[in-house]
Symmetry: C2
Subunit: 247 residues, 2 copies
């Protein structure tokens, strides 16, 4: 289809939103360069990412992740995963399914944004440590209302599809996004997810099924898969996920 490798531009050092893109690229086996993780001497590093934000590719992406695919420059996680998924057969083949997969992936991106806001409810410019009281309120709402709303919704979609995937008959990029958000939430909110897991059997089956795909399993075991950490979107702060939360 194209021989030039894809170029992914994302902050080095964290999984973040870039991870949703990496998973799709890894699954389809598309050659790609994770540009900001390459040495600056070889045209990589954050400097190159900042140049791209500054218009170096002829468009002005708002924020990473950004994918360069030959003549195309695409940003916004769910737009990128859709693009790569549809190009490489990791998407439903019919229009109805394509629309549904895209809408689900965009909704998962919303859940990711809400996850981020649990540790930064009032300002992205202020450190978590300086907005703990608001974060505690937001995290409580997230644990008790938002996580259940989103994950029950995914579970319900799965319950309606005997194929055990979110759309159609085969794993799509939307399922990979579901995998990643479930993994991230288990990391960041382990107590909440442990409580909810028995009510989300299909979602966890899907999670396991994605993790077992050969290309994904190989990726997860590689050094390309960064560990979750407290610089990313999914952060484990004990105060935001108490073992025995007050009612």
């Amino acid at each position: 289809m194209r021989s030039e490798p894809y170029e992914l531009f994302y902050w080095p050092g964290i999984q973040g939103r870039g991870e949703f893109v990496r998973l799709v690229l890894e699954d389809v086996g598309a050659p790609y360069v994770d540009v900001a993780r390459q040495p600056a001497a070889r045209g990589g590093g954050v400097k190159r990412l900042l140049a791209v934000l500054d218009g170096a590719l002829g468009v002005y992406p708002f924020a990473p992740p950004i994918l360069r695919a030959g003549p195309f420059v695409i940003w916004q996680t769910a737009a990128i995963t859709r693009f790569v998924g549809e190009r490489h057969g990791l998407a439903p083949a019919d229009d109805h399914g394509r629309h549904t997969a895209s809408c689900i992936a965009v909704t998962i991106a919303d859940l990711v944004a809400e996850t981020h806001d649990t540790h930064h409810p009032t300002s992205v410019e202020i450190a978590y440590e300086r907005q703990r009281p608001a974060a505690a309120v937001r995290a409580k709402s997230f644990r008790t209302a938002r996580i259940p709303k989103y994950l029950n919704w995914l579970e319900r979609i799965l319950a309606a599809n005997p194929a055990g995937v979110l759309v159609g008959h085969a794993i799509s990029y939307a399922d990979l996004s579901a995998f990643q958000v479930v993994e991230g939430l288990h990391y960041a909110f382990p107590n909440t997810l442990a409580r909810l897991q028995p009510t989300l059997p299909r979602l966890h089956e899907l999670r396991d099924r994605v993790a077992a795909r050969p290309a994904i399993a190989a990726y997860l075991a590689s050094s390309r898969r960064l560990p979750f950490n407290e610089e990313g979107i999914f952060r484990r702060y004990a105060a935001l996920d108490p073992k025995h939360p007050a009612k």
Copy 2:
């Protein structure tokens, strides 16, 4: 192309995210039914919207706005506006432009979500009045960092395009979304926007150009255009947009 009118499902009584969809439908002159604003006796009302959320159309949309277009059911604002825009010629004709328009529209949807969070920073289940302190902090960050970041970005895109539109040579659905978010921000943050307006000449020119399009002008003057109010996303709360903010 299709004779059956589109069906839009959105909360009645507010512009909200539904307004981004309405503007595109109105501009292209597509027949549509704003279902939840129809009488329940004629199959409308919130009850019908809730049924659709509950799977009545064969899929499970996460949240309104939802568009039914013949066999397709699409949710997420930017996905709907892209779908309608591309179908009716209110989008770039080339793939590169289509990608860029979509990425811009999704980014504007992020700005809309951030606008909402200024009055609900800690929980959507708690009234604004009960989260005022956190809202004040979030709104300050929004006024001083986020609004300028987003709107300067749009201004910069416009500065790079002699056609004075966000993508390509003609107005697209992305420009209509820019119009609506600028209008909404002027409503909700009048003091901030008045201060910023001189630095955003192209964006305001685009705003005026969209408003002057015959179908849009007719729509804005009609009773179909709901006024902004404090139940929607763009809310005017004096405390969140002080005339003379402290440094």
